[in-house]
């Protein structure tokens, strides 16, 4: 059993990309900034609490992908935590459904200061395809303060990574 597993692990090898091939120079820059920023401001460890406030689940699928062996975002010092009380940053997808409005506010309140909020996806940014209605508050920023936005429907893991790096960079240079 163990031999089969080891055999598979070694035959696949390491697929983690040093830095994603496309847009190499930009990413190398931002990747370096990220590690620097996390090093300076978060003691080398950035804790993210992801909150689905009404998403179609498309954004969640791509946020999940950040943990697959290709992106392996933990190597930059980023990890996802189970409670907002442990989080430095909230990654919020939208649109914010009215049925999630109160829960999102309570998550925000439970996250210790200082905190960052990134609205993820076109729906998180401006309500996207769902807009504002009897059932939807629209953009995340209509419910809690937002520091940065990552657009896309859904944003790819690459876009998510860059967006997180940039948000940290902006916050650090403040």
């Amino acid at each position: 059993m163990v031999l089969h597993i080891l055999n598979k692990i070694f035959s696949v090898g390491v697929v983690t990309e040093p830095l994603p091939r496309e847009e190499d120079s930009v990413l190398e820059q931002v990747g370096q900034q990220l590690q620097d920023a996390i090093g300076q401001r978060f003691q080398g460890s950035l804790a993210i609490r992801q909150v689905d406030a009404g998403s179609c689940n498309g954004c969640e699928l791509e946020i999940h992908a950040l943990n697959n062996p290709y992106y392996a975002i933990e190597r930059f010092g980023v990890h996802f935590v189970a409670s907002p009380r442990h989080a430095d940053l909230l990654l919020v997808t939208g649109p914010v459904s009215r049925h999630m409005e109160e829960a999102l506010k309570r998550v925000y309140a439970a996250t210790p200061d200082p905190k960052l909020v990134i609205a993820v996806g076109d729906c998180g940014a401006d309500g996207g395809e769902f807009g504002c209605s009897y059932a939807s508050c629209g953009a995340v920023s209509r419910v809690i303060p937002v520091d940065a936005v990552i657009r896309g429907c859904p944003p790819t893991p690459m876009q998510l990574m860059r967006g997180i790096l940039e948000a940290i960079g902006i916050a650090t240079s403040d």
């Binding site: 059993m1 597993i5 598979k8 498309g58 409005e101 009897y134």
Partner: protein, 521 residues
């Protein structure tokens, strides 16, 4: 054949059921007197019909209700009308547990009372609109009332267990992982689950309402976002409904390409699910291997179709993107490689004693329970309900293909994982056949709208997925109703968790993997 039997059975009971000339393909329409609505369900249930869906439609002075039934691949649509003022209809839920939540959804959205419903508590409605108004009535403004903060839904009357050793565990709406929101209320003794009650509706986004007034393209954009993992399932169902309403046939090449997309979506989701199921019992080797294979697969989606989750590839009337012959050859090569790799990893999983210990007999859904609930997709197939639209009520191009359907009766987490593993291989074989002989020809038939209604039914990766569409005189959407298979599978989770321990809930939930967004709408 079986529809005639149903009419005879109804007539024997003295129930009126007239067969409409206009059928709503693939269903034939039986108009039922409103007073007979519940009895018709009793007769249908006794004669082996499966309950599939219910939707309402505000026609002005009347509300029209449609209930879809299926037996051996034949679809029957029961229809009735009730006055829009203080409407009441006998409930079908006493005969079909599957009708329970759909009727409560209809009650909340239309203000229709279902007499004799065993559990008439609100379902989709939390606190975003009052009990006295109903969003799917045409008079209800899509924008709602003046925006003000929506309070939390704190007073929902959950079922409580009493006793010295009983404790209650509230979970959610926000969970500990990167997953959709919903509330689970456990009544437990020690670690053992006595009762689980689901409370969903948190991601209700008003999809049915905001569909009104859209054109075909706009509807498709919305359909592709009903559930993020079911872009093709809901997109294709909506397109099929639109095309049947408009009376246009899609070119054979478009049908084949849609099947390529649908099978790719099935494989991507199954890869993710098998890894996640193993991860929920601490077997991270499988998680890393399967997330790697899934990432390879999504990158090929991006290269071949321009989107990792296959958005904006479908079009009303066909598809937007073609596959060049070289791309087909390359894709077939990757299919063969994935088939070999998936088989190799699954063989390793099957040799693991610790996985067997955690997954077998865990979260068991008996075949009788699954049949009673009308469970679909891998949940049904793991518990003896092997209905699959591709095989049993085939639509192009599946009418030209043989689709092998895996089936088990164990009904445990292991069986639901095995169905997925086998479906990956079946889908890869189908992809091979489809890509080998893509029919030549156009990618789309020009779209033209007309005032009509249509029904689309496809086998999404979660199971039978349907869409009902009614177009008005201007060709705009007057009614859109998408029914995700999760409506039929969520209730199964409440049953299969019985006598399991609370720490096994995540793996049980993952093995069902209901869509919250596709259910809450």
């Amino acid at each position: 054949m079986s529809l005639a039997e149903l009419r005879v059975a109804l007539a024997t009971e003295g129930l009126s059921a007239s067969l409409d000339d206009a059928c709503l393909n693939p269903a034939q329409v039986l108009t039922i007197a409103s007073a007979d609505w519940g009895d018709a369900a009793r007769v249908a249930a006794a004669t082996g019909w499966r309950w599939s869906a219910l939707w309402g439609d505000d026609l002005g002075a009347q509300l029209r209700l449609s209930a879809l039934l299926e037996r051996r691949g034949t679809y029957a649509l029961l229809r009735t009308e009730v006055p829009a003022q203080a409407p009441t209809l006998p409930s079908q839920a006493p005969y079909y547990p599957a009708a329970d939540r759909p009727e409560r959804h209809t009650q909340d959205m239309f203000g229709l009372r279902f007499a004799g419903h065993p559990d008439p508590r609100r379902w989709t409605r939390h606190q975003a609109w009052p009990a006295t108004s109903h969003p799917l009535r045409k008079a209800f403004p899509a924008a709602g009332q003046a925006p003000q903060p929506t309070p939390g839904d704190y007073d929902y009357p959950f079922i409580r267990a009493r006793g010295a050793a009983v404790h209650e565990i509230p979970v959610g709406p926000i969970h500990a992982g990167i997953i959709e929101p919903g509330h689970f209320r456990f009544q437990a003794v020690g670690e053992e689950v006595l009762n689980l009650e689901e409370r969903l509706g948190y991601v209700h986004k008003g999809i049915e309402k905001i569909a009104e007034g859209r054109d075909a393209e706009g509807l498709l954009r919305l359909a592709e976002r009903v559930s993020g993992d079911s872009v093709i399932a809901h997109g294709w169902a909506a397109c099929m409904a639109l095309e049947r309403a408009a009376g246009i046939a899609i070119p054979p090449r478009a049908a084949a390409l849609r099947a390529v997309l649908a099978e790719r979506e099935r494989i991507a989701n199954h890869l993710g699910d098998i890894g996640a199921i193993c991860n929920d019992v601490g077997f991270s080797f499988a998680q890393y291997q399967f997330t790697r294979l899934r990432e390879d697969w999504l990158r090929e989606n991006q290269r071949a179709f321009g989107h990792r989750l296959l958005r904006e590839v479908l079009a009303p009337g066909g598809v937007r993107r073609d596959l060049e012959p070289e791309a087909c050859v390359a894709m077939r090569r990757r299919c063969a490689r994935l088939a070999a790799e998936a088989a190799e990893i699954v063989a390793i999983l099957e040799r693991s004693d610790s996985l067997e210990d955690r997954l077998m007999t865990t979260g068991r859904l008996a075949p009788e329970q699954a049949a009673r609930l009308g469970c679909l997709g891998y949940v049904g197939k793991a518990s003896g309900c092997t209905f699959d639209v591709r095989r049993d009520s085939p639509y192009p191009p599946y009418d030209q293909l043989e689709v092998r359907i895996p089936g088990y009766r164990a009904g445990d987490v292991a069986a639901r994982a095995k169905v997925r593993a086998e479906e990956i291989q079946v889908s890869l074989a189908l992809l091979g056949q489809l890509l080998e002989r893509l029919p030549a020809g156009e990618l789309a038939t020009p779209w033209r709208a007309r005032a009509a209604e249509g029904l689309g039914i496809v086998e999404g990766w979660r199971g039978e997925t349907l869409a009902y569409v009614r177009l008005d005189a201007t060709g705009r959407i007057a009614r859109y109703f998408p029914r995700d298979p999760s409506w039929l599978n969520w209730p199964a989770l409440e049953l299969l968790i019985h006598d399991n321990i609370v720490p096994d809930f995540p793996v049980c939930n993952k093995s069902v993997n209901g869509s919250y967004s596709g259910h809450d709408l």
